[in-house]
């Protein structure tokens, strides 16, 4: 019985094995998400507060002229909806990536990483699973927003999907890169202050960039260089059945760079070592 059979000794993995692994990881992440109702509710409440309160209050202050992809004057709520969709993904990406590196999911990461499939592929599957969860959140938000008169063309719900997948992957891998690379950002509050807020406010999520340019040209350049701006614009255009090619190029390039960087930088011992040397055996 102790001899190695042919199956065990062969090299490599079949395409079917890769796909089984990928669907398994996405399936589990979905199941876990459905069990964590609080996480779902808080993921929804955040953008809805912006939509119901902030946008309603700001409606009179900020006039939106006709800018692509919009063909008529629009309400402020309609303008910020794509930004809020991207915000959902930003939070989700940071949250799930942080938990991959630090304590909360350490047990799960142990189980994941003893899978024989290549580690880079496993991490890619994790990112894709996190993106899938963010899609559930975004579509739930769109459903509620629909009752609030944010009604993009019905085909837009479909055309926005590829854009959301790409932006979800970009933000998830950015989160993973940040949490692997910077030691100080060990809790979510730090990430909020130093990553989420600056990225969100220095973008086209809340105001069109031409307005920013009037106020401060430097801030405008900063916003233009912010990958989050391009995620928002990619989503905004896709929601109206159009493609913003520049944003697509920026988001695609950032996704590739962040993901490769994140996979190379990922080090499970970082999460473990925190307890390891201090507390003796982890």
């Amino acid at each position: 019985m102790s001899s190695i059979t042919a199956r065990e000794a062969r090299r490599g993995f079949s395409f079917a094995e890769y796909m089984t692994c990928l669907t398994g990881i996405v399936w589990r992440e979905g199941l876990r998400f459905l069990h964590q109702r609080e996480r779902f509710v808080s993921a929804l409440v955040r953008p809805l507060v912006w939509l119901f309160i902030f946008a309603a209050g700001f409606r009179q202050v900020l006039g939106i002229s006709i800018i692509p992809p919009y063909e008529t004057y629009i309400l402020y709520e309609v303008y910020i909806a794509p930004g809020l969709m991207a915000m959902i993904q930003l939070f989700n990406g940071m949250q799930s990536s942080l938990s991959m590196v630090y304590d909360r999911e350490m047990g799960n990461m142990r189980t994941l990483l003893v899978s024989p499939l290549p580690r880079g592929f496993l991490l890619f599957c994790k990112l894709l699973a996190g993106t899938a969860v963010s899609l559930l959140q975004v579509y739930a938000f769109l459903l509620i927003a629909w009752f609030w008169d944010i009604t993009p063309p019905s085909s837009g719900y479909l055309t926005v999907l590829p854009a959301l997948i790409l932006s979800g992957l970009m933000l998830g891998s950015l989160g993973m890169l940040i949490s692997s690379g910077i030691k100080q950002l060990e809790n979510f509050a730090g990430v909020m202050n130093f990553v989420i807020f600056p990225m969100f406010f220095a973008s086209s999520a809340l105001y069109p960039l031409w307005r920013v340019q009037e106020g401060s040209p430097y801030l405008y350049y900063l916003c233009e260089a912010n990958p989050f701006t391009h995620a928002v614009e990619l989503i905004r255009f896709a929601l109206y059945g159009q493609i913003n090619w520049i944003s697509l190029a920026v988001v695609a390039a950032c996704t590739i760079v962040f993901m490769i960087g994140a996979i190379l930088a990922y080090d499970p011992s970082r999460g473990l070592a925190r307890r390891g040397p201090a507390g003796g055996e982890g």
Binding site: A6, P116, G282
Partner: protein
């Protein structure tokens, strides 16, 4: 152990080198967390169809060693082989043959028993129907088939451990690592788990590495590795280790071996 690089075999052919290799070979492995050295030149083997107890106090380096074998930490120096596959060079081949039960619980508490098993099967590329059949069979073997659909959260500590062992066996590994699997369990649950694992050794020829600090879990016929402050102090069949230490039982042998080590440094 400086074996020559294996010659690539045609796909599907058994590899003779692997068939004769030890289930686990640890070869001159050292590891440090910054200035603190957790493992110092550790070497030992686990043979197929054998039960090897890795005995050491908390902090001896057992969990570090497990993290190296499971590729959670990169290997700083030395070599870890599983049936001849170097864990650094061909991790896929090595991990395919390895099942692990970690010391901290690693089950998804909110998912059902079956869901936990199916997830693990997917991680090993085992298709859905095959995975479902294997899960049902393993749940039957650990006497939890009636709980298949309940949440793991509702299980007792002993049941969770049995489930973790079943999960580690799902992809039919040839080597099983267990890191203090009985910690926090009552006497009955401990006996069940030890019995279950010993059965795997005798009936299925699985090589087992069982890390523990509990002397009464070791039997005279077991292989023993005594790890203390990152160093291997003794290794071999338990009866020989005990005799060579000039002791009557493993407890005394351990105290003599480690006492000699810790005295000059002022005790540990």
């Amino acid at each position: 152990m400086t074996s020559p690089a294996p010659i690539p075999e045609p796909q599907g052919a058994p590899r003779p080198a692997a068939a004769t290799a030890p289930a686990l070979s640890i070869d001159g492995v050292s590891h440090a967390y910054g200035p603190r050295r957790a493992l110092i030149d550790v070497s030992f083997n686990v043979q197929p169809a054998s039960f090897t107890a890795l005995l050491g106090l908390n902090g001896a380096g057992k969990s570090t060693l497990f993290s190296l074998i499971t590729r959670l930490f990169g290997i700083q120096s030395g070599r870890v082989g599983i049936f001849g596959h170097d864990i650094s060079k061909s991790p896929g081949e090595a991990l395919r043959l390895l099942g692990v039960v970690f010391q901290p619980r690693t089950l998804d508490l909110d998912l059902s028993l079956t869901q936990n098993l199916l997830y693990h099967a997917a991680l090993h590329g085992i298709g859905r129907s095959d995975a479902a059949a294997r899960s049902a069979e393993l749940l039957g073997r650990i006497g939890l088939e009636e709980r298949a659909g309940s949440k793991v959260r509702d299980l007792s500590g002993g049941q969770m451990r049995r489930l973790e062992i079943a999960r580690a066996l799902l992809h039919r590994p040839r080597l099983l690592l267990l890191d203090e699997p009985t910690v926090g369990l009552d006497v009955k649950a401990r006996a069940d788990i030890i019995g279950q694992v010993r059965q795997l050794v005798t009936e299925q020829g699985i090589g087992v590495l069982w890390a523990t600090h509990l002397f009464d879990e070791i039997m005279p016929s077991d292989d023993l590795v005594v790890l203390h402050q990152g160093k291997v102090l003794a290794r071999g069949p338990m009866s020989r280790v005990v005799t060579e230490a000039g002791a009557q039982d493993v407890n005394t042998a351990f105290m003599r071996l480690t006492g000699a080590q810790t005295m000059p440094g002022g005790g540990a």
